[in-house]
């Protein structure tokens, strides 16, 4: 392993260790908040694979988040499934959905791809409203009592405990970070970047670029779906609001802010944005103003995001 590889590994492990220690020093409220942020960060990590590495800007990732959310929540609610089974099921369904949507949407490029994903996501959102008998539409469904705990490895896992939720979220985030690290530092990551930087050249070299993009889409969609499933199962609620365009924009915003194409960027972006909104919502009901202003400033002055700018200027080894 090279020196920069060691440094980046240390950094990632360090971030995860810091997150592990935080509950000991933070007030309860932040423990709850960070649990949510970590799940959203997985969503953003997934988004980043597609946008940051493969260079495909989707405006519809909420559909994958919602797909995981419902694929996990509905069997639990209607069929009485156990939580771990529902989670795995949601992962599989999200992967399939991403493969299907990807196979269709990846026939377009650039602006058309953005609009196609936006439209698909809007159709999914309307679908969650339309099939209200199953989904509970706007009002959503509260997962029943039996879904608040499960047995795993001979232990009873109690999801009503904030600590348990926190560490489950952290475990999922850690797994996600390690997987992303592995991919982006390996051949697959290089293929994604090659497609992002120069797709026609990559195809001329002998790469099946459609397949490379589809892989990014499936992994990205699976991460997003996994995050949705975790969100629904940990907080015992599924509802249409998670399929709304706001969530697609959030994923983009977190990634852009933290730095597209950096592993830790989406996580940092999720933290900054969540607390920024929390701060603004204490002062004004129009807290989404922050979202707007940050988006405009980022795209005008810092298209690389926080970590992207850091990497360019000072820390070239940052993955």
């Amino acid at each position: 392993m090279t020196g920069s590889g060691k440094r980046s590994l240390t950094l990632h492990i360090g971030v995860l260790v810091l997150l592990f220690l935080l509950p000991f020093i933070l007030p309860d409220y932040h423990q709850l908040v960070i649990t949510r942020i970590m799940i959203l960060a997985i969503f953003a990590l997934g988004y980043n694979i597609l946008f940051g590495y493969a260079g495909l800007l989707s405006l519809g990732h909420a559909m994958f988040f919602a797909c995981g959310l419902y694929a996990a929540g509905l069997p639990v609610y209607h069929l009485g499934w156990e939580v771990p089974l529902a989670f795995l099921f949601a992962i599989v369904i999200s992967a399939l959905a991403a493969a299907l949507i990807g196979a269709i949407a990846l026939r377009t490029q650039g602006v058309a791809f953005m609009i196609v994903t936006l439209m698909f996501a809007q159709a999914v959102y309307l679908g969650t409203l339309y099939f209200s008998d199953v989904t509970g539409a706007d009002e959503g469904l509260v997962l029943p009592e039996h879904a608040r705990s499960f047995d795993a490895l001979g232990m009873r896992v109690d999801l009503t405990s904030p600590e348990v939720r926190y560490y489950i979220a952290l475990a999922l985030l850690s797994a996600a970070v390690l997987m992303v690290c592995r991919w982006v530092n390996g051949g697959l990551g290089r293929e994604w970047v090659a497609v992002r930087e120069n797709e026609s050249r990559t195809r001329m070299l002998g790469y099946n670029t459609f397949l490379i993009k589809l892989k990014a889409m499936v992994i990205s969609g699976t991460f997003s779906g996994g995050a949705g499933a975790a969100y629904g199962l940990l907080f015992a609620y599924v509802g249409s609001t998670f399929a709304s365009i706001q969530y697609s924009i959030d994923a983009l915003l977190f990634t852009l802010l933290g730095g597209a194409g950096t592993v830790l960027g989406p996580i940092l972006g999720s933290f900054i944005m969540f607390y920024l909104v929390d701060f603004f919502s204490g002062h004004t009901t129009a807290y989404l103003l922050a979202t707007g202003v940050v988006l405009i400033l980022l795209i005008m002055y810092f298209p690389l995001g926080v970590l992207g700018t850091l990497r360019k200027k000072w820390l070239p080894w940052l993955p």
């Binding site: 293929e191 970047v193 090659a194 930087e197 050249r201 990559t202 001329m204 670029t209």
Partner: protein, 251 residues
């Protein structure tokens, strides 16, 4: 080289391609032997680039057939042809400007490592990506700049990088579309040296305007004019050919 039995590596039969009302490539029959360097020359608009695009798959022919190593590849996509061993180096430099030189070459190398060697060099063990990239960079003399961003290289070096990326895939047939364009005299000489170094085990198609360069390097030269093949011979023969002189050199 001459000891090799002449085998047809690639052949084209009755290739046609029209753009609107204009026939860019017209009834072209073409055959390429394993291991040769073939020059393709002709005036502007003669259909050289269109023709090689039909070979590499960037364009689909209206009619005709392309056979590579005995396989009909007429309907195969660009990337499948590339996997079979046809590499195309762009006339307008096409590299990965935002990546380092190392990563540029690694993109080609990691693909090359996924498949059996085509240039016949045996691999005792699974080679290391670093090594493969390193040896490619040494071959083209770019190893001093492996950590530089490709976009920061000088033009001539970008040209070299373009070729290095292709070499890293380890192709059987290398199509070079005007590789000397924009290079200085010294650089052209260096480039000729490079081609001589890398031709071992490879077949090369060279589209060029720089005639002395082609005549010096090529085993055979094909002259195209108005979408068709005007003449084909060794460099000496071409230089003697009256039709070629009339259509092209005499101008």
């Amino acid at each position: 080289m001459a000891a090799l039995v002449a085998v047809s590596l690639l052949s084209a039969k009755k290739l046609n391609r029209r753009f609107g009302g204009i026939a860019a490539v017209k009834d072209v029959d073409f055959s390429l032997e394993q291991g040769e360097i073939r020059g393709i020359i002709g005036p502007n608009g003669a259909g050289k680039t269109s023709f090689v695009n039909l070979l590499s798959g960037r364009l689909a022919p209206d009619s005709g057939q392309v056979v590579f190593q005995g396989v009909d590849i007429t309907r195969q996509s660009v990337w499948k042809r590339a996997r079979l061993g046809i590499a195309y180096s762009f006339q307008i430099i096409s590299i990965y400007p935002g990546l380092t030189v190392f990563d540029n070459v690694a993109i080609g190398a990691q693909l090359g490592m996924q498949q059996p060697s085509k240039s016949g060099q045996s691999r005792d063990q699974e080679p290391d990506l670093e090594e493969v990239v390193g040896s490619c960079l040494k071959l083209t003399g770019l190893d001093w700049g492996r950590t530089q961003l490709a976009s920061e290289l000088a033009y001539g070096h970008q040209r070299l990088l373009e070729i290095t990326i292709n070499l890293a895939v380890d192709p059987t047939l290398l199509i070079l579309d005007e590789p000397t364009q924009g290079l200085s005299v010294d650089e052209i000489d260096e480039f000729a040296g490079l081609l001589k170094r890398i031709r071992s085990g490879r077949t090369i198609i060279l589209i060029e305007h720089n005639l002395p360069f082609v005549m010096n390097l090529a085993d055979r030269v094909t002259v195209m004019d108005q979408g068709g093949i005007l003449a084909e011979n060794d460099p000496k023969g071409i230089q003697m050919d009256a039709r070629v002189k009339a259509a092209y050199l005499g101008k």
